[in-house]
């Protein structure tokens, strides 16, 4: 199924461009994550939303804001990171952080206390592995030149359909 990157207008700003990943049906993992939070995690979701807005408009995607290197194997999906709630650390939102100026939002979900790593949770595994595959595809596309980063570093240029 074809997958494309789309700039997220509401969240992007002068500091960073925020992207979502859409399939042919218009589904994207970030929206699914937001819906799945429901009332139980509404406060945490709204805090995530505010922080993503702040990243786009005020501060950029500084790497210290994220839990880094959520990859399975060293060198594969190194750009995959997770936004998490503090201090509880009950939630994970997986992203691909290309730079301080470009961030791609994926999906995620609650991380139960007994879960040590995302590999132990089916929902988190699905979300993390999907973003690792997106990260690897983007890396390849940037290397082949069919996808590029604009001169000011703020956005992707080229064919944003990253999986045909």
């Amino acid at each position: 199924m074809a997958v494309r990157l789309k700039k997220f207008g509401d969240f992007s700003g002068k500091k960073a461009t925020i992207y979502v990943v859409l399939n042919e049906l218009g589904e994207n993992p970030f929206r699914e994550f937001a819906v799945s939070c429901g009332k139980d995690y509404e406060d945490k979701l709204l805090n995530f939303i505010g922080r993503i807005k702040s990243i786009g408009t005020q501060v950029g995607a500084i790497e210290d804001y994220f839990k880094l290197h959520e990859n399975e194997r060293k060198g594969v999906g190194d750009n995959v990171c997770a936004l998490y709630d503090v201090p509880d650390k009950e939630m994970r939102l997986y992203c691909v952080r290309i730079s301080e100026q470009i961030l791609i939002l994926g999906g995620g979900g609650p991380k139960p206390e007994h879960i040590r790593a995302w590999q132990d949770c089916p929902i988190l595994s699905k979300a993390a592995r999907y973003m690792i595959s997106i990260s690897e595809t983007i890396k390849t596309r940037l290397q082949t030149g069919t996808l590029a980063i604009s001169d000011n570093g703020m956005e992707f240029t080229g064919d944003l359909v990253i999986i045909k």
Binding site: I49, I62, E155
Partner: protein
């Protein structure tokens, strides 16, 4: 090399927009915490320090505390902020009273005479107090 821009590829979603509206009342507070963390992080990195070195300088045993500070979500105590700004040599909180709200009195000795000068910032006047009399100072060139 791909150059074509895709400005038409902007995603909008009513549900997510409604969440953004719901979080708007807290946005200023979120922005403040994120910017505060960013200022500390940039100052630490500009010194060439990693989190371990910064923790040592702050005399903190646990690296997880530094990670928490840098997450952009932490509520700092003023004593912690004061220590951070002293360690990093930056200003994070400004507790000085604005000059306009103060009257300054200076003791000066001119030609062996002890005088008191008082500067009223609000009135933009300098007064010289000699022998109990308050006299407006006039600049002479």
């Amino acid at each position: 090399m791909a150059k074509k821009k895709h400005d038409e590829d902007v995603y909008q979603d009513d549900f997510l927009s409604s969440l953004l509206e719901a979080s708007a009342p807290f946005q200023e507070e979120v922005d403040f915490k994120m910017k505060l963390a960013a200022k500390i992080i940039k100052a630490v990195r500009s010194k060439g320090w990693n989190n371990t070195v910064f923790a040592e300088k702050m005399e903190i045993a646990s690296l997880s505390i530094i990670t928490k500070w840098f997450s952009g979500t932490h509520n700092f105590e003023s004593t912690t902020l004061n220590k951070i700004q002293n360690v990093l040599g930056i200003r994070l909180i400004d507790v000085e009273m604005p000059l306009a709200a103060t009257n300054m009195t200076m003791q000066v000795i001119l030609g062996g005479q002890r005088e008191y000068k008082e500067y009223d910032e609000l009135a933009q006047n300098t007064y010289i107090l000699i022998g109990g009399y308050k006299t407006k100072a006039v600049a002479q060139c």
